[in-house]
Symmetry: C2
């Protein structure tokens, strides 16, 4: 039986223990897959039978997009019960991504205090320190001794076990952060000394509004497990390395999806068909217009094409191959941008580096295509037209592919979104112009 079949089966037999045991036995991928195969009504049934706590555990294994999708399909009251079982920052993450109506309905069902906290957290933008932080952490005063702090940890052990404590934060009466204690320093210190003496004073902290790039740079630079988050100096939470790395990874995935034409957030096939179709069409309908503009060059040169119909074979090849060459350069530029090796002001350096590769590859590909064209029709000039057009257009494609992501970034346009269409429209236009323009000039040699 399939995992989703098994879940439905346990639910139908009202075997809650069996259902719970089975759900727990599924790995994160299997859970995601099983939920993806259930429709909205089946999910509600299975998850209600499973209970809020187990459902919350399940949600934590899913990607954000899928978790949001699952919560949206639950009744508001059950969704609130489930969210209540999650860490506050995860609750806020999900509430932030719900439709406004759904969010309001769920918040209305939460205890007022919790709803206020979630609402406050969800005001920090997604992918900022405030949006990614957890609000559970251990804080002490600078005058406490190591043994007092250890005793405090020991007596509060039950509460703190869930906090994934790695650091203890030292704050003053106003809640201002004055120092950090690492757990191992507490272990290694003599019991009688005060926090003041062993703490790292003036610790590095991040403002709640710090964005993902800023956080990534901080965590890349040193091996913090987590960093305290402050709002005008007052400590408000802790942002963990794992959370930041996850957010960076998710951002990279969204960029790659965008580059492939999946815009408006991640698409899962369990989402409604019309939503998926509409989001894909937004991208495709821009592309078809750009395509028609580029292809209109062909319409202008109809007479040349009628005289040398063999040229029609080379138009799609040159369009496709230039796209391939250009996309290789785009991929390298996007990667170099993301790891910091390239910046928008390096556009000349990048162009020169692409130029040399473009010339070599253009010559190689142009020779191949030109040779085939010559052999096919026995006319060397047809080979010259096809080969020169592809060679020149390859140089152009890598130049555009390498530099356009940097230029788009410079002008504040998302390179993941716009690099592809800009690249292919220009290379198509130029490719068609090169083949047909050259052929028109050399028409007597070709017919």
């Amino acid at each position: 039986m399939t995992p989703w079949g098994a879940l439905l089966d346990y639910t139908a037999r009202q075997d809650v223990d069996g259902l719970t045991a089975y759900a727990r036995s599924l790995g994160p991928g299997e859970s995601a897959r099983a939920l993806a195969h259930l429709d909205a009504e089946e999910r509600q049934r299975v998850l209600e039978a499973l209970g809020a706590e187990e459902t919350a555990d399940l949600l934590e294994m899913l990607t954000r997009a899928q978790a949001v999708e699952v919560v949206e399909q639950l009744t508001a009251i059950y969704a609130a019960n489930v969210l209540h079982e999650l860490p506050t920052h995860t609750e806020a993450d999900i509430v932030r991504d719900l439709d406004d109506d759904d969010a309001a309905a769920v918040l209305a069902e939460l205890p007022p205090e919790e709803a206020a906290e979630v609402r406050a957290l969800s005001t920090w933008a997604d992918d900022t320190a405030g949006g990614l932080m957890v609000v559970q952490y251990v804080s002490v005063r600078a005058t406490q001794t190591v043994s007092e702090i250890v005793d405090h940890l020991r007596t509060q052990a039950d509460e703190y076990r869930d906090y994934q404590v790695q650091y203890v934060y030292v704050v003053d009466d106003e809640g201002l952060l004055t120092g950090v204690l690492r757990l191992r320093d507490l272990l290694l210190a003599r019991p009688r000394v005060t926090a003041q003496e062993v703490m790292i004073p003036d610790p590095i902290s991040v403002e709640a509004a710090t964005d993902l790039d800023g956080l990534q740079e901080l965590f890349d630079g040193a091996s913090y497990f987590g960093l305290p988050v402050t709002d005008r100096g007052r400590m408000v939470g802790v942002v963990r390395r794992a959370t930041v790395e996850e957010a960076v990874g998710e951002e990279a995935h969204r960029d790659h999806l965008k580059h492939a034409g999946i815009v408006g957030g991640e698409e899962l096939r369990s989402m409604p068909t019309l939503t998926r179709s509409r989001r894909r069409l937004q991208w495709l309908s821009i592309n078809i217009v750009l395509n028609m503009i580029a292809a209109s060059i062909i319409a202008i040169y109809q007479d040349t094409l009628t005289s040398v119909i063999a040229l029609a074979v080379f138009l799609p090849i040159i369009s496709d191959m230039s796209g391939c060459s250009g996309n290789q350069a785009v991929a390298v530029s996007m990667r170099e941008l993301s790891i910091g090796v390239a910046r928008p002001q390096d556009v000349l350096h990048v162009w020169l580096k692409e130029l040399s590769v473009g010339v070599i590859n253009g010559l190689a590909l142009g020779t191949m295509l030109g040779g085939v064209a010559w052999m096919w029709k026995g006319n060397p000039w047809l080979g010259v037209v096809a080969g020169v057009a592809l060679a020149v257009n390859t140089v152009l494609a890598v130049s555009i592919g390498g530099t356009v992501p940097l230029l788009l970034k410079h002008f504040g346009v998302d390179p993941a979104l716009a690099s592809g269409p800009v690249l292919t429209t220009i290379t198509d236009l130029c490719g068609f112009l090169l083949v047909l323009g050259l052929a028109t000039q050399m028409l007597p040699l070709l017919v």
Copy 2:
């Protein structure tokens, strides 16, 4: 002055303190960028002036591909000095990726014991638990008391500070792993109890040969900071969550680069031109052959094309648009494969989900293109040919795009590498066949 200019300037003035301070002031991205702008000889000069320890710190900020590139360009003796300053697993990572000759030369310059350890570590395949683990960890016996262990940690504090200790491992006389102690449990436990009583017995461990998928599943399932690595039961190291997540992220990046035609590992523009050109050409030369095969359909239908030359305008549009639609489906499938929502056996489910989107989008795009074709030439039948061909080919493209990654995975072919070429070759072939085949059938209505 540019950062690379500044580095060269300090080096020329033999101002080591200034150079060191400046190098330390650079963020990870800036360091990567500065090194990318220096040629091999300049790098050697700057990094030798900087000294082995600072160079090692710099290397740790780079991506693996760039670090390997930098080390390859150093003299063997200086490279060995630099590697010596790195954690052993990082040393092994770099040595594993060096050319065999370079690796042998560097190992010959390392102290024999260290060389043996690096060699042993680098025998574990990259991206396995053995390849990713660190070999520095703290181990104790089950009979030791909490206070003895804490005292031990305290006296060895200097050595252990670098270990990023989060767990203490309990091993028996044969080195077999019998339990794990979390630091916070040591803090929270009464001093007189033994490790036996507070340890987590039969802890989860991974075999050294476990691959990245297996590791990812383990770490996804629970919030371990690290897991002990065993070789036939004996503990040999610790693999950390951060290392695994970094490796997963790098793998995703390599997949996206491969999908865009950058094969054979990451490309950086600071690599030699011929290497970059050759690697890109491997991919392009396969693509141009596939392109020619698809375009040969056009050659077969030359007569139809000569009669209705307007069709030549639609061939590249249909080729491009089908590629776009298909690639959206590929992107969603690759993402669903990586997060576990889709598996190879879900191919029918995926196909049905794509079919509905394909029909809607095919109708929308076909109507647009058909309408434009009709208006352009005033012939409704030209609109029918272009529109029907694009509509049918869109359905085909999303069907192929959605299912091919799953099928390739099932047959053990890397979907990141092969999905693109398979998709575009089939959709080009079918697209050209549809336009020209339909037109041939309807020729009397078109001329």
